[in-house]
C-alpha cells in the first residue's frame, strides 16, 4: 500500500492515511494528508481526516498548534458542509475547552438543528450554559482562536477516544435489527468509507460484494449529500435504492453510515420503523 504510487482520488488518499493511522504513524499521516489536500483541497474527507489526525498528534505531543490546525481544517470543511456532524462536534469540544463558549455554542446549535435530541451536543450545550452564566462578563473578550494556546493539554485527552466509544454505541444498538425479516446484510461504515462492522444474516454469504459494499455506500452517500445540499434540500438523511435484485438502504447515523441490504420482497415499512428506532436510541 505504501508504494510510491500517488493516490489519484480523495478516497484512495483516505485509505493510505487510514493505514498510517492504524500503524500509529500520525506525523507521517499528517504529512501525507497535507499532500492529499494540496491535490484535493476541498475534499471533505481529507479535511476531516486532517483535523482528526491533528487531534491525534495533539494527544501525543501536547502541542496546542495541532488543535489550531484541527479547527482550521474543520472550519474549512464546515463552510461547504455546515451540517457535518463530527466536524461540528469536535470543533465544539475544542472551542469549549478553549473557553470560546460562543463559538462552541454555535457548533452545538448546528448539530441540534438536525438532531435536536443528540445527547453529546446537549451535554456540551448544558456545560456551555453553565460556564456562560458564571463568566458572562468576561466571555466577550475571550473568543479568539488564540485562546487555544491556553488549553491545558490533559483537558483534551480522550477526545479522539470518544470516537471509538461512539462506534461501540452504534454497533451495540444494531441488535434492534436482528429480528427484522428481509435483511441480508448490515454494514456500518465510518465517514471516510472504512468498515466499522459487518453482520450478515445466517446463511448469507456476501462474497465479492462484501469487499466492495463499503466504498459503494460511501460513494452513494457523498454523491447524494452533495446533490441534496446543492438543491437546497439540506443534509442527506436516508437513501433507498430499489433494484430487481434487492434494496440498499443508506442511513446517515451522525458520524457513520448504516447500510442495510434487503431482500427484494422485504417489508420496507417494517425496516423503516426499525431504522427510526435505531436513530432515536442513538440520539436519546
Amino acid at each position: 500500500m505504501m508504494a510510491d504510487k500517488i493516490p489519484d482520488s480523495p478516497s484512495d488518499w483516505v485509505l493510505r492515511l487510514r493505514e498510517l493511522k492504524e500503524n500509529k504513524d500520525y506525523n507521517m499521516a499528517l504529512e501525507e494528508c497535507r499532500k492529499g489536500l494540496s491535490l484535493f483541497s476541498s475534499s471533505s474527507d481529507l479535511l476531516f481526516m486532517y483535523g482528526e489526525l491533528s487531534i491525534s498528534c495533539f494527544n501525543r505531543e501536547k502541542k496546542t498548534g495541532h488543535l489550531k490546525t484541527a479547527l482550521t481544517s474543520f472550519e474549512k470543511l464546515l463552510k461547504t458542509n455546515p451540517d457535518h456532524y463530527m466536524a461540528n462536534l469536535l470543533s465544539a469540544q475544542i472551542y469549549y475547552k478553549a473557553r470560546a463558549y460562543v463559538r462552541a455554542g454555535k457548533k452545538v446549535a448546528a448539530i441540534l438543528k438536525n438532531s435536536p435530541k443528540d445527547a453529546k451536543a446537549l451535554k456540551i450545550g448544558r456545560a456551555i450554559k453553565k460556564q456562560l452564566k458564571e463568566e458572562t462578563a468576561q466571555v466577550a473578550g475571550r473568543l479568539d482562536l488564540s485562546d487555544t494556546e491556553k488549553i491545558e493539554a490533559e483537558q483534551l485527552e480522550g477526545l479522539q477516544e470518544g470516537m471509538s466509544e461512539e462506534y461501540n454505541k452504534l454497533i451495540e444498538r444494531l441488535s434492534c435489527f436482528y429480528k427484522t425479516g428481509g435483511i441480508r446484510l448490515i454494514h456500518l461504515i465510518d465517514a471516510t468509507g472504512v468498515t466499522i462492522k459487518t453482520i450478515a444474516k445466517k446463511g448469507y454469504v456476501p462474497g465479492k460484494m462484501g469487499e466492495t459494499i463499503a466504498s459503494v455506500a460511501s460513494d452513494i452517500f457523498r454523491g447524494s449529500g452533495g446533490c441534496t445540499r446543492a438543491l437546497g434540500l439540506g443534509n442527506f438523511q436516508r437513501g433507498k435504492l430499489l433494484t430487481p435484485s434487492g434494496t440498499i438502504v443508506l442511513v446517515n447515523v451522525f458520524y457513520a453510515i448504516l447500510l442495510l441490504l434487503l431482500e427484494p420482497d422485504a417489508d420496507l415499512n417494517a425496516v423503516n420503523d426499525r431504522i427510526d428506532r435505531y436513530v432515536e436510541e442513538l440520539a436519546g
Binding site: 460484494m209 459503494v216 452513494i220 454523491g223 447524494s224 443534509n235 438523511q237 435484485s245
Partner: protein, 119 residues
C-alpha cells in the same frame, strides 16, 4: 402543452409534491413543471451525476440496474425513477405517508413511459 408536461402538471397537484421533471440519463432536460425557485438545469445535472454513481454501485455489487432511488433529506425528498433511457425526477416536501407518494410516482412514471417511449 406537451403530453409529458400535462402528466407532470397533474402529478404536481399530489400532496407534498413541489415539482417534477423528466431528463435524459446524461442530464439533458426533456420536460419540467417546477417552481421558479428551483433551477431545473441544475437539478438535471446533479441527478445525472448521482445516477452515474448509482449505476457504478449497482454494477459493483452485481445488482444490475436500479428502478428507483429515493433520498430523504432534512428539508425535503428527492425521488429518481428509471424510465429506461430517461429519468423521472420528483421533488417533494417531507411527507408523512411516503407509501402513497410512491404509488403516485409509480403511476406517473408508467404514464410518461407510455408517452415518451423511453423504455
Amino acid at each position: 402543452m406537451s403530453p409529458i408536461k400535462t402528466v407532470l402538471g397533474k402529478f404536481n397537484k399530489k400532496a407534498g409534491v413541489t415539482g417534477s421533471l423528466v431528463c435524459s440519463r446524461e442530464g439533458m432536460l426533456v420536460d419540467v413543471e417546477i417552481s421558479e425557485r428551483f433551477d431545473p438545469e441544475a437539478i438535471s445535472a446533479y441527478v445525472s451525476s448521482v445516477v452515474l454513481i448509482l449505476s457504478h454501485a449497482c454494477k459493483a455489487v452485481e445488482f444490475g440496474g436500479f428502478s428507483r432511488y429515493g433520498i430523504t433529506a432534512t428539508k425535503g425528498e428527492l425521488v429518481i425513477t428509471d424510465l429506461g433511457n430517461a429519468l423521472f425526477v420528483v421533488l417533494a416536501e417531507r411527507v408523512p405517508d411516503a407509501g402513497a407518494l410512491n404509488v403516485e410516482i409509480f403511476q406517473a412514471a408508467n404514464e410518461i413511459k407510455k408517452i415518451g417511449q423511453f423504455g
